[in-house]
């Protein structure tokens, strides 16, 4: 009981005093996951929009693949990227293993299907109608597609945020490809595992609180967006 309590107190002290160790880890986590989600957005939104505008029957095969990849276990993603980036792997010469870049790649690999899939579902809900309405008013292909994206902005934003919340919270992939190197590839989730194992519960709890707060904020935003999106 006391360990829980003391850990919590100390954790709050670390957070309030902007403990540099904690700050480094949190900032790296955010940098990696935000970069990953931005890349995943660049990849996922166009693909998702394209697929969403196609008839469901025609993309049936893609759908299944994407939905499978959406549920890809982080450790499997980590393993795959590890095998590719390791010096014996096809991209070994780049020397990316155990760098933040490797973690970003793994997270892009995890987040892109989520962004693609949810964008696709969101667009499919009304995208066809929107596209036809735009075309019936004289829009060419480009304007029609842009109108679809604009009208589906809530769904797309929701897809991106869901992707972010998934990657910032995962530990399997970053653990395997990042190597959990202090000050270099140690992020919140790997640090929590490490510090728990070392018995440094203060830092673990402190990071846990921050991760929960991020999760809370992200989910609140998502919730507000989805409510807003439904209303319209």
């Amino acid at each position: 009981m006391s360990r829980l309590y003391e850990g919590l107190l100390e954790a709050l002290r670390l957070i309030i005093s902007f403990d540099p160790d904690l700050l480094t880890i949190v900032l790296l986590s955010l940098r990696v996951s935000i970069t990953a989600i931005l890349l995943a957005t660049l990849i996922g939104v166009p693909i998702g929009t394209l697929l969403g505008l196609k008839e469901e029957k025609k993309t049936g095969f893609f759908n299944k693949i994407i939905f499978t990849f959406m549920g890809m276990p982080p450790v499997v993603a980590g393993l795959i990227i590890f095998l590719i980036l390791s010096r014996q792997g096809p991209l070994g010469v780049l020397g990316l293993l155990y760098t933040p870049s490797a973690m970003i790649i793994a997270q892009v690999f995890l987040a892109s299907p989520i962004v693609i899939g949810l964008t696709m579902v969101g667009i499919r809900a009304k995208g066809g109608e929107i596209e036809e309405t735009a075309r019936s008013l004289g829009a060419g292909s480009a304007l029609a597609a842009w109108t679809v994206v604009k009208e589906s902005r809530y769904a797309i934003l929701g897809a991106v945020i869901t992707g972010f919340s998934r990657v910032v919270a995962e530990v399997g992939a970053v653990m395997i490809v990042g190597g959990n190197i202090e000050g270099h590839t140690r992020v919140m989730t790997t640090a929590i595992v490490l510090e728990t194992r070392k018995g440094n519960f203060e830092l673990a709890i402190g990071l846990g609180i921050i991760l929960l707060m991020i999760s809370f904020i992200v989910n609140s935003v998502l919730y507000t967006i989805q409510k807003g999106g439904k209303k319209n």
């Binding site: 390791s86 010096r87 014996q88 070994g92 010469v93 020397g95 293993l97 155990y98 190597g179 959990n180 190197i181 202090e182 270099h184 590839t185 194992r197 070392k198 018995g199 440094n200």
Partner: protein, 272 residues
């Protein structure tokens, strides 16, 4: 856990004045066993090396087996591990070069203060292990193919016991710190290097159950990854790290590192 500090100031004055070397803005990857990392030794040594050379040392802490594998596949530049046999084998096979015996300490058995297996009176590892096996008290094994794990397996074999699959034998596949914590939670015994145990002593209830058997000697080696095997291996920088550890200064630093008033690692080769 409380981080210790060296008792005597390291003798660094003799090297720094004449070496006005340009700092290198690069890094090396050190694959090492969790014991050197979890004990805090590297957190003490590496900043000094970085200050002198500019080279950042990125530590990937794994079991020795995993660290050797990481080295063999060229994903690290330099290794600091403790399984002499496989290290030498790796050198012979051409994966590694320039291996040195860098430091040593010893393994100890730790267990709950109540000593449910009654190991208290015995003096050899084999006896202790028989008692543990017979009493059915929990024994936590690293199970991660690390140097400690390999040592443990050799000890079981020497004691003529095959613990695999026994309900009291918990093989967890994790680092030294995890394993000690695990044993602490489960009120079990485990084999650990002295360094990690001492560094964690304050946050756990486990006590030393057996120490001093010559078979428990624990030698660490440092070596560089053979640059001819893969592209991109930073052999030159790796050798700077090896030389740093093997230098008089490095050896002194290792000797000076203490936690809770105890020296954890002793420089050089210890069994002659």
């Amino acid at each position: 856990a409380e981080e210790g500090a060296p008792v005597e100031e390291p003798v660094e004055e003799e090297t720094t004045p004449e070496e006005e070397v340009e700092l290198i803005d690069d890094f090396i990857i050190l694959a090492t066993t969790t014991s050197t990392y979890d004990s805090g030794l590297l957190d003490f040594l590496n900043p000094i090396f970085t200050e002198q050379t500019g080279l950042e040392v990125r530590v990937v802490s794994q079991g020795t087996g995993a660290a050797l594998e990481t080295g063999r596949s060229g994903d690290a530049d330099v290794l600091l591990v403790h399984d002499r046999g496989s290290e030498l084998q790796g050198v012979e096979d051409g994966y590694f070069v320039d291996r040195y015996d860098v430091m040593y300490n010893d393994f100890i058995f730790v267990g709950p203060a109540e000593d449910p297996a009654g190991v208290g009176g015995v003096t050899t590892a084999a006896e202790a292990m028989s008692l543990i096996a017979d009493s059915g008290a929990i024994f936590v094994s690293r199970g991660d193919d690390s140097g400690t794990h390999r040592m443990e397996l050799r000890l079981w074999e020497a004691a003529g016991i095959d613990p695999a699959g026994e309900s009291w034998y918990e093989s967890i596949g994790q680092g030294m710190g995890d394993t000690i914590n695990h044993a602490n939670e489960r009120l079990g015994y485990t084999l650990t290097d002295r360094g990690t145990y001492v560094s964690m002593k304050d946050s756990i209830d486990l006590v030393i159950a057996l120490e001093g058997d010559p078979v428990l000697f624990n030698q660490y080696g440092v070596m560089a990854v053979n640059p001819e095997l893969h592209e991109g291996i930073k052999y030159e920088y790796a050798m700077m790290y090896v030389e740093f550890l093997m230098s008089e200064e490095g050896q002194n630093l290792i000797n000076s590192y203490q936690v809770n008033g105890e020296t954890l690692f002793f420089p050089g080769y210890g069994l002659e």
